[in-house]
Point group: C2
Chain length 149, copies 2
């Protein structure tokens, strides 16, 4: 168990809030060159994915899947990248990132070396879809949180 | 849906086989500087995590958790990193990587810039635990595949 004292994701949302639920939240991340970059953040301070119960893990990955599906539908990425690293901030958060063949780092990880300059025109096309993407993420997560509702 | 034609993970194991199950396999990856590096590879050719059914996703993440728990118990890493990227090989595979404060890239992602040289002595200490780690992964996955057995 890591300490929550001084944890950035206990103190702050960690991005622009798209959805705040009972156990997790979804934020959009402002990262230059990656307009379709989201995080699914577990609200409680937990370091490792395997510390969650089976039920909590299922809820966590269901939210990751809601975000991934919205990205695929609205942004048509070449690939979606999922990652829970937490080396710097050991508070469980999933990176969910729409990747495109034109993005700076493709096919490298976004943490790897850049391959080309930014394509601001293509980024703007993605940005124009974000509002609809966020609306769909929210709708899917409302549904996921109230399966009988 | 991506094509399985020419897919490296359809043609090969993708590492040293630790476990081969009905729907997925676990391999140990020989990556210089990262002795505690595993992959959970979905046997069928599927590109995105969200293409799996709820049941398949649960089985997949249960295997990821089996590997993560074995790494935590046997290798005492500073953090476990999980990632499903697939930009180069779009066949669902989860990287499960034990990270250490002494490893070349910590706290960066392993795909990011190196911070220091390799520590071969520390790596050897980890390597000495791999046989026991593999045995535990296998035992946990046998149990996960036959819950009533």
């Amino acid at each position: 168990m890591s300490s929550s004292f001084g944890c950035a994701l206990c103190a702050q949302d960690g991005g622009t809030l798209v959805w705040y639920g009972k156990v997790l939240r979804v934020v959009h991340v402002e990262e230059a060159g990656f307009p379709g970059y989201y995080r699914v953040i577990w609200n409680a301070h937990v370091a490792e994915f395997s510390e969650l119960s089976d039920e909590a893990r299922a809820a966590c990955m269901a939210a990751v899947v809601c975000v991934e599906r919205a990205l695929i539908e609205h942004l048509q990425p070449a690939k979606v990248n999922l990652a829970a690293l937490g080396n710097m901030v050991p508070h469980l958060h999933w990176h969910v990132i729409a990747r495109f063949e034109w993005d700076m780092h493709f096919p490298n990880a976004i943490w790897g070396p850049a391959q080309r300059p930014r394509d601001l025109e293509q980024e703007a096309v993605v940005r124009a879809q974000l509002e609809a993407t966020h609306a769909d993420i929210r709708a899917a997560l409302v549904k996921a949180e109230t399966p009988d509702g």
